[in-house]
Symmetry: D2
Subunit: 351 residues, 4 copies
């Protein structure tokens, strides 16, 4: 089959004709009908420091956001059938570690990630464990089906635990309007946030944030984020901050705009340690901080499904898709993303 492969430990990707995945007894085989590109894929393409350190399997079929049709199932598979439409939870877990046994599979101690540690979905076929399959409504548009996984990240950042009551009627700031930041805005609108602030340095994305539902957008390169948010909240600050950028300056702003007793979800990944004023910004202001990775398995997926049942929400989410390319144009797609000219790119299995 054709696949987009990291073939050598250097920049770039290659389209190759490789063997189809071998099916283990607990796996299912999916014919990929659509896929989409995550920031992680761009890192692997660029072969930056993170990728050099993180990727050990070469050659590697990359990609993890996708949707497709089940064409075969292993002998032990019970809950998925040939013909089912599925996407995938991309965290492959051991089911037996302490985290898995206590409701925190998304931080399994022996986690493998699709398209990072094992062969992924930018291919004609992909094999995943039965338990990672998420059955899609056959009527769900493919371009939405493929981006449920990052949408789950957004939902998880907003509802990180069992006590997320503070969205209804809350002030929320989204720092960084990449795809997950933008998705967060759509989710916040749907969950009843009172006021949504969004910051971003790329003007085009700010305009998109506005269109998707942000009440006020701020460009930190030209405006004073902290001052504006304090003015707009009557000095109270925001109840919830979603830090989606990983930028050191945004992380510092997060602590200056959150109301005492409020909460911050950290999802963006800064490249280096950030000095934090623990005394003044965390302890004495009683702030709660959530590190966000992955999605709750599978509570978040049900939340995503429920949100997607509303046309209004689906329409907001679709605005995030900026381009569609055939798989064969992966190089062009990566290039656009690397230059900040695309938001979310959907790939069609045309080789």
């Amino acid at each position: 089959m054709y696949a987009i492969v990291k073939n050598e430990r250097k920049p770039g990707l290659t389209i190759l004709d490789v063997d189809s995945p071998k099916l283990k007894e607990n796996d299912i085989l999916v014919k990929v009908e659509v896929a989409s590109i995550c920031g992680t894929d761009v890192h692997i393409w660029k072969w930056d420091k993170w990728a050099q350190k993180r990727i050990s399997k070469i050659p590697l079929v990359i990609g993890h956001e996708f949707a497709g049709k089940v064409v075969d199932v292993g002998s032990a598979v019970k809950s998925v059938r040939i013909g089912d439409r599925v996407s995938a939870e991309t965290h492959i877990v051991d089911k037996t570690c302490y985290q898995c046994k206590t409701g925190k599979m998304h931080v399994c101690q022996n986690m493998k990630i699709l398209g990072v540690d094992v062969d992924g979905a930018f291919a004609e076929y992909v094999a995943i464990p039965e338990m990672n399959a998420w059955k899609n409504d056959p009527n769900l548009e493919l371009e939405i089906a493929t981006i449920q996984e990052p949408l789950g990240n957004a939902v998880h950042a907003i509802l990180p635990s069992n006590s997320p009551e503070d969205i209804a009627g809350s002030y929320v700031a989204v720092l960084g309007c990449g795809p997950i930041g933008l998705m967060s805005i759509a989710v916040l609108r749907t969950l009843g946030a009172e006021k949504i602030f969004a910051t971003e340095i790329v003007e085009k994305r700010l305009r998109l944030a506005e269109k998707i539902g942000a009440d006020l957008v701020i460009n930190p390169t030209t405006e004073d984020v902290v001052k504006i948010i304090h003015e707009e909240t009557g000095g109270r600050g925001v109840d919830v901050v979603l830090e989606m950028s990983g930028a050191p300056s945004a992380i510092k702003q997060a602590f200056k705009i959150v109301t005492p007793g409020g909460r911050i979800s950290l999802l963006g990944l800064p490249g280096e340690p950030i000095p934090l004023d623990i005394s003044g910004d965390i302890v004495l202001r009683s702030v709660t901080i959530y590190g966000i990775t992955g999605r709750r398995m599978f509570r978040t997926w049900f939340q995503v499904k429920g949100l997607l049942s509303r046309p209004d929400f689906r329409n907001r989410i679709k605005m995030i898709i900026s381009h569609k390319f055939p798989m064969r144009d992966i190089e062009k797609a990566m290039d656009l993303l690397a230059h900040g000219e695309a938001v979310k790119i959907v790939l069609e299995p045309k080789w």
Copy 2:
């Protein structure tokens, strides 16, 4: 001043010219600009068994849903000023009992209720404790400002505690489409429920439920609620039931339609004990039940305020207002409510 007064221990109400409220040092005096009728007021008008047992202060100015303008403040008042626009949290609490000291003021052991235990708001002026004042945005339409209190009941039933995550992407059933049931539907739509079922025996209200946002409405006099909901949820049942009717048959349905591990909020008040299958319906299915009274003080009010900031939500809520009358037509208004021909009636201070 003019006021609508329960003057004798028998059916009916009288419009009287009475003394204006005397202001205590922690109180504020409000000129009533709008009010609205709660089911409780109808009970007092009818002088039914509940009212006979519950009401001890006669004469009593009734009414508790209102909005108005502050015209005077007691000497110790700090946070409210003359000219402020306010509505009222109607639970007047002692601030010192165990419940008040541990975040549960809404079940204060020495609670007094406005218009039930102390003189209320169907009058030219009403006095309330400073801490019960809720400041309104001066731009909030009066007819919405006055119904924030019952809207708070709806929000509290939906978000009864610190772990209400199950609304986003959940199946929810609202049993009973009186004003609070209908408001719940609007709130559920705004919080991202996946599917909202509503039951009601009055056809006109069912139609309204649909218009406000229920996905499927069911008339239990002609349809099989339990069967339909199981079919429509693929056998799973609903995650959340809001029992708003107090009808014994609805309470029984609640336990038959909730998914194992789901939750039921009970707000409707049945007139007599209801036999429950504790073993089969509660214990073995691990169901959680919340008794709902009042609103969290004042978390729920902030949630209400936040929800009302969205035009779409305000529009849904306004559909619940079926009539407007001058105060002098209180008898006509009560009559319509008693015969089920009105939903929410707004009163204007015209005497």
Copy 3:
């Protein structure tokens, strides 16, 4: 192998020489080193209405509380090894239903129970799915290892959800001092409850409740439970009620002794519907009710393990074991339990 078998649909049990369990690829085979008798086993022995209705597999090896040594593992088993010491979570779940996928495996829609739906542990060997194995510390005394499963019920009733803060410094009442009620008292002592009330009609068990750590024991046949608890709590009532008896009178008391805004865990199984004053006892007092079945998989097991690490706690728990018998004396053991003369009986695999 020898096993205690329900061989016919009538009262009694038979010791038979039957085939050892056949091992499936995801199962483990355990040599039973100790077992203990649950109330469920007594019902099956008696062949009462519940048992007649519930049991469909005949012949059935009964029993589910046990500990033993792994002697064989199926081909797909990864996390358990021959030689491991284990007990079992007795709820065998499908892992794929809505409940299993959202952190509520203990109410799986397709649950099978060991010794009830499939062959159990009152035998020389028992087979269980790998995922149901709970590894014991090899130094844990066998008589404690076997009663971890019901101890998990007690812990689950006390910590039913993610917000159980109210134990530290709370007033708690345990209604019914059977084994799980008594275990609850030991747990409550270890979690920092301020005052523990216990009710029970069998005097011997009341004395045991006192010894294990109840602060005040009350016999409802001769004393006024509601009055005493109100006096002893300064009129406040208790924050938490654990209803462990299933007695209609106790269930009614539960609602009369709980403080407004408090919570009730229902674990006891009444034989018939109980009329509840929903308006006065649940809605207007804002009470929360948790139906309790099984244990959270496997958060509760880790909690049990942690509690058992303290010698003081182990000593309290051991007091509950009233008798030890060889398996061959099952009839004698059942007889003592049926006549209320035993509390928890441990069985040794002597045939």
Copy 4:
């Protein structure tokens, strides 16, 4: 009356004869029967950078940990009577800000602190607002009554929110064994923690930590905290870290010893910004961080009261009191604390 006063903006304290506090209508006047010294008091005595920046009222009667007898009450006081025994919640709040209105009084936006912003308790008499009074059991020993406030800090750090279930059966590390760290160990023992690790650089305090109930004590100057804790937890790490030292090295260790998905309470106050590896230590490991200040008003106080009802707990807490001095020896007491030779010093009102 006599009082210990910060009289000039320089090191030291003076015992002066000053006017007794004037009683406002919502205040109560307390005759101080016992007091104790907090680290904050030592800072003010030393007049270090923090004190120079934080203290604006001079002269200032310092001190906030105390217990005493009510000798007068203001005209509006209802819930406290002359003769009552009280201690004080030392956070004086405005009751009207967003935080106060939504259950987070402990981070009131206009908070004043007793003995820091207003005259405190190292005096013959102290005046506090009625709502800050905590009534003590008259039988509670004075030396315990006075240290309930810091004990509340410990409880709040351990139970920071409504979802603190993870103490029962958890691994916990306490970093820093000052008075609050040591109190935490006592609380953890009482709440059912499975294993308690404690780190501290002063050997004497490590021995005390052991005596109070730590399972393993580690001196980071001579031992490898991270390595030892990983070994002792089978590689899992601890579920909960309580950072009580403010030392940069301990804060870094906190992130290395917490299990993925675990939580860290930060209470210690580092003097400068600390660089944190947000990507590796917080986001990708899904860690939750709670900034801890003050106590929940007044849920934490009820928890403290409940815990103190157990003799075993009281005995552990008493071990923390290393010295008793008359007020007149304040200089000597401060000196011992500044040199790390005392843990908690109780002051008797002898002048």
